[in-house]
């Protein structure tokens, strides 16, 4: 169990900087999930904490001790890999014991630790087997076991569930969470899957192009995304974005279509006349009578999910999709109850649920602040 403090962490390959200075303080026992699209630098970040990549600038402290130049094996960490990286010709037992043997622990203690971890992961009967005789989920457990037996101060997970099928992934996700809770070990977990990120994390680090766009609890990230990128990346289906502007009197928001809405919870006065990107989550658009509507949706596609029905379309009067300037996606998605009777070609009158609008500066794409 340990705290991790990272200051102004940077990484360059030659003249190309890929991590542009990340600061984060991680508490003992915290489960931190680093999430972002591929190529955002999340795995590089994790490997720097592990000591597998050299740090170009900045510092990493584990429990107050700077570890920038400490070898991976001496950092008291354990890592779980996407490909599991089990030693192919060793039994499950030896795979789990190997790191401890190298560390020179007495064999009775090694045995005790391996047996305990195997029991915890329900792997006891598989100990004499070789990795190739196991299923994907079991191999994943062995990889976890190899991390647990080390009893490290920090767990590092590099997309550990990405090679599993969807159902198993959900199950293992829960197991990892429970395991981390019961062990209380500080954990850093890298994933590109935002559902995994939301469900596992105590706090999220949302990364984009080598920068931490937002570091916060999952709900805070969901409800108060710091930028258009975060708002778009977290949540499925993604948030809807529309170009608009604050009216010159600073009292209302005007969509490109001309429709105007009041933005409860936002004091718009300081932003009078500013171009903005207006974001609204699919579940925050409600069907209403035509005269109460903020916008009308021309429905072009329906997705029936059972519990929900998703209606996709574009705002009526905005022309064909893609013609409105400065909207990342013209496509608007609405989450309706599963029993909603709606068909392609329908027009939906929608109203934004009070207090659920997200406003971003159209130029720098950051969340508008009230000052």
């Amino acid at each position: 169990m340990a705290t991790i403090a990272i200051q102004q962490l940077r990484k360059s390959y030659g003249t190309t900087e890929v991590i542009h200075g990340i600061d984060v303080e991680i508490d003992t026992g915290e489960f931190i999930v680093i999430v972002g699209p591929s190529g955002c630098g999340k795995s590089t970040f994790l490997r720097m904490v592990a000591g597998l990549e050299a740090v170009t600038a900045g510092t990493i402290h584990i429990d107050g001790k700077q570890v920038n130049d400490v070898e991976p094996k001496d950092r008291d960490i354990a890592m779980v890999f996407q490909t599991y990286a089990l030693y192919p010709h060793m039994t499950v037992y030896n795979n789990m014991a190997y790191g401890l043997k190298i560390a020179g622990l007495p064999s009775t203690e090694i045995d005790e630790r391996v047996q305990r971890a195997a029991k915890m992961l329900e792997l006891s009967e598989f100990l004499p087997r070789k990795p190739r005789q196991l299923s994907g989920g079991q191999r994943q457990r062995v990889a976890m076991g190899r991390a647990i037996v080390r009893d490290p101060r920090v767990f590092l997970f590099d997309e550990p569930l990405s090679n599993l099928d969807a159902k198993l992934r959900v199950q293992m996700r829960l197991e990892i969470k429970q395991l981390q809770r019961s062990l209380g070990t500080t954990s850093l977990y890298v994933t590109h899957d935002q559902v995994e990120a939301m469900t596992l994390a105590d706090r999220l680090i949302v990364m984009n192009e080598g920068l931490a766009e937002q570091i916060d609890t999952p709900m805070q990230v969901y409800e108060h995304p710091a930028s258009v990128f975060v708002a778009d990346f977290i949540g499925s289906p993604a948030m809807n974005f529309m170009a608009g502007r604050v009216t010159p009197d600073g009292r209302e928001l005007a969509f490109e279509s001309g429709a105007a809405v009041r933005a409860e919870g936002w004091s718009l006065a300081p932003h009078a006349g500013r171009k903005v990107t207006i974001g609204v989550r699919p579940e925050n658009l409600q069907p209403v009578a035509a005269d109460a509507a903020d916008l009308t949706l021309q429905v072009v596609a329906i997705e029936t999910l059972g519990a929900d029905t998703l209606a996709h379309g574009f705002p009526a009067g905005w022309g064909e999709a893609g013609t409105t300037p400065d909207t990342m996606k013209n496509n608007i998605a609405v989450r309706l109850p599963g029993n909603a009777r709606i068909r392609e070609g329908d027009q939906l009158s929608l109203r934004v649920v009070e207090g659920t609008l997200h406003l971003f500066d159209a130029a720098n794409r950051k969340r508008l602040t009230d000052d």
Binding site: L52, A78, F81, T83, Y98, R132
Partner: protein, 287 residues
């Protein structure tokens, strides 16, 4: 359960059957034909049964060339496989030097076999060849046309020069297919370079090395052109390997019966060794 009511599928196999017949079965049957009969020309044959097989299997000449062949193949395998793995391990995995190394490695493989023999013949000549002259200049008496040891050394060296690249390229491909995560996991475990080799790289190379050893075994066991051009099987019979001996019997002495019997024995030995080796190596795979 649906079953097809006609036998049309057989027509689709016909091209393959014809191909295999022409390039394998018919030539092989010709050899079998010669191996059990005696002929004095004019296409007149006399049945001889297993006489030629008995003769070949009991001849000292066959025993000698067979042992020579085993020794040669054993030597080149012992040198080429570890050397090839070593070179592959020391080659860069990324960067501009990768393609340079690969091209350099592939070069010897692109040279026709008789050219390799001729090159090494000249290279190793004790009076004018760079290699031969240099060795003699070091005070070592070296003459591959007269001393069996020198002839053997030169032949083995030539084969190593010509074919180690094949092992290198196969092993290199195998190494490149090992995900980085294995090395990272080993680093976190604090594993030494030796245990990384022994516990990750070698097990992961098992399949390609099996193929490499099989290819090198078959090729070297049937080697003909290079030693024929280099030493002609000499001095004396000291580098007369199985193929060279076979050609001497078949075309030199025109003893077609024994030559055919020897061919079949030769063929069965190669087949048997390959099958046993492959089965042993792969018995735990695919579970």
């Amino acid at each position: 359960m649906l079953k097809t009511a006609n036998q049309k599928a057989w027509y689709f196999v016909v091209p393959v059957v014809v191909l295999v017949a022409f390039n394998a079965l018919i030539p092989l049957m010709t050899v079998v034909n010669y191996s059990v009969q005696e002929t004095f020309g004019d296409n007149v044959f006399f049945w001889e049964g297993v006489k030629w097989f008995e003769e070949v299997l009991n001849s000292d000449r066959f025993h000698d060339s067979f042992l020579r062949q085993l020794a040669f193949t054993g030597m080149i395998l012992v040198i080429e496989v570890p050397l090839g793995i070593g070179v592959a391990l020391s080659m860069p995995r990324k960067g501009p030097w990768v393609s340079v190394c690969l091209v350099l490695m592939a070069l010897p493989l692109l040279i026709p076999w008789n050219v390799v023999g001729a090159m090494w013949n000249i290279f190793a000549l004790p009076d004018i060849g760079l290699l031969g002259r240099s060795i003699n200049a070091l005070g070592i008496d070296y003459n591959f046309t007269q001393q069996p040891e020198s002839a053997w050394m030169t032949t083995v060296l030539m084969d190593v020069w010509h074919w180690t690249s094949l092992v290198v390229l196969l092993a290199y491909a195998g190494l490149c297919s090992i995900p980085d995560a294995y090395y990272q996991a080993a680093k976190i475990d604090g594993a030494s370079a030796w245990s990384v080799f022994w516990r990750i790289q070698l097990p992961k190379l098992k399949r390609v090395l099996t193929i490499a050893i099989l290819l090198r075994f078959m090729d070297s066991f049937m080697i003909y052109t290079e030693p024929f051009v280099l030493t002609g099987g000499g001095p004396g019979n000291t580098t007369t390997f199985l193929s060279i001996d076979l050609v001497k019997i078949a075309l030199g002495q025109f003893d077609l019966g024994p030559a055919a019997a020897m061919s079949l024995i030769y063929f069965l030995v190669v087949l048997l060794v390959c099958w046993v080796f492959y089965t042993l190596m792969m018995r735990h795979e695919g579970q």
